[in-house]
């Protein structure tokens, strides 16, 4: 596992974690048919926290964070996001979705729209922001992810790393209070991984609440204030990055770390 190196010092001045609860998951269970994917998940995320979720393939990491914006439905327990409980009430779901941004492994940009249109679509149609204002916001965020000059191109014309940065900008245009990342760098070539991670670090520096499924342990060490290890649909261990990597408690975590760190 190559660990990307972050040359510059990370500015932690805005990274304080507040007492305010952003996400609360209580005794949450989920089944796919007979298969019990998520078992008794309990997790509280405070505003400003940056959480990295790790675990072997099939352990339910994606399923868990997809439950937070209701891309997947849970069958028992409670999920409360920003004070709104996720139930089958469509109003609540829409409210949560417009507060929570999500970045996918395969970017999922809209190929028939330009980069700019990708970024303005939801603000215009969901937030009802005037087009001009939405475009200004979009350009602001595209500048932030360092690709303002690609605004009029189509996603297919961009490299993978650029596409993923557009996807981040697209989410940010909705001014979300929470960002979910599902393996944002695992479909990318090594040299592109860094540009995407840099963007994510900047986001962390600004105090965004982030939940990030990733195998980039360097990133976890640099910005996370908590690492969660999942296996077989359960949270097996959680700790601050320093102790998680240097002093793992459970056997499963040790095994996983030895595999992923590769020595």
């Amino acid at each position: 596992m190559t660990e990307p190196h972050f040359e510059r010092d990370i500015d932690r001045s805005h990274m304080q974690v507040s007492d305010e609860v952003a996400i609360q998951i209580e005794n949450m269970n989920k089944w796919y048919g007979q298969f019990h994917v998520l078992r008794d998940i309990n997790l509280t995320v405070n505003r400003g926290e940056r959480i990295v979720i790790a675990g072997p393939s099939g352990s339910g990491k994606s399923t868990m964070i997809r439950c937070i914006n209701r891309l997947e439905e849970h069958q028992s327990g409670k999920i409360i996001v920003d004070g709104t409980e996720l139930t089958s009430d469509l109003k609540n779901i829409d409210k949560v979705r417009s507060e929570v941004g999500m970045v996918f492994q395969h970017f999922n940009l809209f190929p028939h729209l330009t980069i700019l249109e990708n970024c303005t679509l939801a603000p215009i149609w969901v937030r009802k922001i005037p087009k001009k204002e939405a475009e200004e916001t979009a350009m602001y965020f595209l500048e932030k992810v360092k690709i303002p000059d690609q605004a009029l191109k189509y996603p297919g014309q961009l490299s993978g790393g650029q596409q993923q940065r557009v996807a981040i900008a697209r989410s940010l245009c909705m001014k979300p209070r929470i960002m979910l990342f599902d393996e944002p760098t695992s479909a990318l070539d090594p040299e592109m991984i860094k540009e995407v991670l840099d963007t994510m670090i900047e986001l962390a520096e600004e105090g965004m609440t982030m939940l990030c499924v990733t195998h980039e342990m360097g990133f976890a060490q640099a910005v996370a204030n908590r690492v969660i290890f999942m296996d077989q649909g359960q949270i097996v261990e959680q700790n601050n990055p320093h102790d998680f990597f240097n002093n793992p408690q459970s056997e499963r975590t040790k095994l996983f770390l030895s595999q992923i760190l590769g020595h």
Partner: protein, 436 residues
């Protein structure tokens, strides 16, 4: 100095580009690659040339012997025999000179021909902004009002019922706008129910009053006077315009999670696709009369148009379903994650992409449907391919004329359908260029 195997090499002067050898360029190359690439290829080329030769030698004289000036098929035959000798055959286009208007307009009153002509020109104008997005968007306003204008001009009569239909749509639109912010479902229900109630109960009395006050009427033309391409294009254009939205709704219905909507869509699609169009046309002409309250005069062209629309919509729904299935799940998820609701996600993200994939299939369906409009001959309407020619053959002067109507009508169908197919290719290329 000795040359070792690992000698370094540096090119001093770059080679200028040269023309390829003649056997590799131009006509010779093309012929070699495309017609005589292998012995099998050569045999096929020669066989094809022979078939082309046979076809041309058979048909060319028929066209060459064409007669344009005659008053009956007998005169045509005499003229051909006089010029080309006994036993020569030839096309008797003189029939077209006398009867072309029936192929185009059917039995529409000749003094009113300007009306279908205006409607046809209007059709081009209404369709243009839909087909070519470069045109100013304001033209779409005309496209929206065009269908009702066309109905009024074609069938004539009082303008009030048509205005009432428009008013019904207006009421529905207002309901959507006003109630849309309160509750989407309520808005949709009201937007459907209110206009229907308006049409059922308010139009009759209002029409009477308004006609008395301001009689806005032009001479009516009954449906049985329609025929030829006027009939085919009316049914075809109406069917195309209506079957695309219906097809989209059916395709979405078939994908829906709601059991009733899904089952209804599946049954509708499978039933319609499983039944021959002619059966449906007979339903239109005979069976519907049993279900409708006695005394209702439900226009036969409208009935046929509705069933042709349903027929095409079932096919289009399947074509679009293929397009929907081809989209990666990630597109739905990204739309959901951004907070777009179902309809917005469909309209802005899913359908534009699914329809783009489905263009070839949709256009094939349209072309098939347009050609199928000739089947209305079986319910007693005068289609251009059989109805009109049979009528002309009933005239003693043209009794026995056979190929000419087929050639003429076939040529017009070909031109119209070929344009559709070309447009579809243009659209595909354009969208590909856009999305890369």
């Amino acid at each position: 100095m000795s040359t070792s195997q690992t000698a370094a090499f540096v090119r001093k002067d770059m080679l200028p580009p040269k023309d390829p050898p003649t056997s590799q360029a131009g006509l010779v190359k093309w012929l070699r690659e495309n017609l005589f690439a292998s012995w099998l290829n050569t045999v096929l080329t020669l066989a094809s040339l022979f078939v082309i030769y046979l076809l041309v030698t058979h048909f060319y004289p028929w066209f060459r012997h064409s007669v344009w000036n005659a008053n009956s098929i007998a005169e045509c035959r005499t003229a051909i025999a006089a010029t080309w000798g006994e036993g020569a055959t030839g096309a008797c286009w003189a029939m077209l000179r006398e009867r072309w208007h029936q192929f185009i307009f059917g039995f529409y009153p000749p003094e009113l021909y300007w009306r279908p002509i205006a409607v046809f020109l209007g059709l081009l104008l209404a369709v243009a902004p839909v087909l070519f997005t470069q045109l100013p968007r304001q033209m779409l306003l005309f496209s929206l009002t065009y269908p009702l204008l066309a109905i009024w001009l074609l069938w004539g009569g009082s303008a009030w019922p048509v205005i009432m239909i428009a008013a019904g749509f207006g009421i529905g639109y207002l309901a959507l706008r006003i109630l849309g912010d309160i509750s989407a479902i309520l808005a949709v229900v009201v937007a459907i129910v209110a206009p229907v109630l308006f049409w059922l109960f308010a139009v009759g009395p209002l029409d009477e009053v308004l006609t008395k006050v301001i009689p806005l009427a032009i001479e009516p033309v009954a449906s049985d006077r329609f025929g030829g391409f006027l009939l085919a294009i009316t049914i075809g254009a109406g069917g195309i315009a209506l079957s695309l939205p219906l097809g989209i709704i059916l395709a979405l219905g078939r994908q829906s999670n709601m059991f009733l909507i899904k089952s209804f869509s599946v049954m509708f699609i499978e039933f319609i696709r499983g039944v021959p169009l002619i059966t449906l046309l007979f339903v239109a002409s005979l069976l519907l009369n049993y279900f409708l309250p006695p005394g209702t005069n439900f226009d036969i062209i409208l009935r046929v148009m509705i069933l042709v629309t349903m027929f095409a919509a079932a096919y289009i729904a399947e074509v679009i379903r293929g397009g929907l299935a081809a989209l990666p799940r990630g597109q739905y998820e990204a739309a959901d994650a951004l907070g777009l609701d179902y309809w917005k996600a469909q309209r802005l993200i899913i359908l534009p992409q699914a329809l783009k994939i489905s263009i070839p299939g949709i256009v094939s369906t349209f072309i098939g449907m347009f050609k199928d409009t000739t089947l209305v001959t079986f319910v007693g309407l005068f289609d251009p391919l059989k109805g009109i020619p049979d009528f002309i053959r009933a005239d003693f002067n043209w009794k026995g004329i056979y190929w000419e109507p087929f050639v003429f009508v076939g040529a017009i169908f070909f031109i119209l359908n070929f344009s559709m197919s070309r447009y579809a290719m243009y659209l595909e290329r354009k969208l590909k260029r856009d999305h890369r």
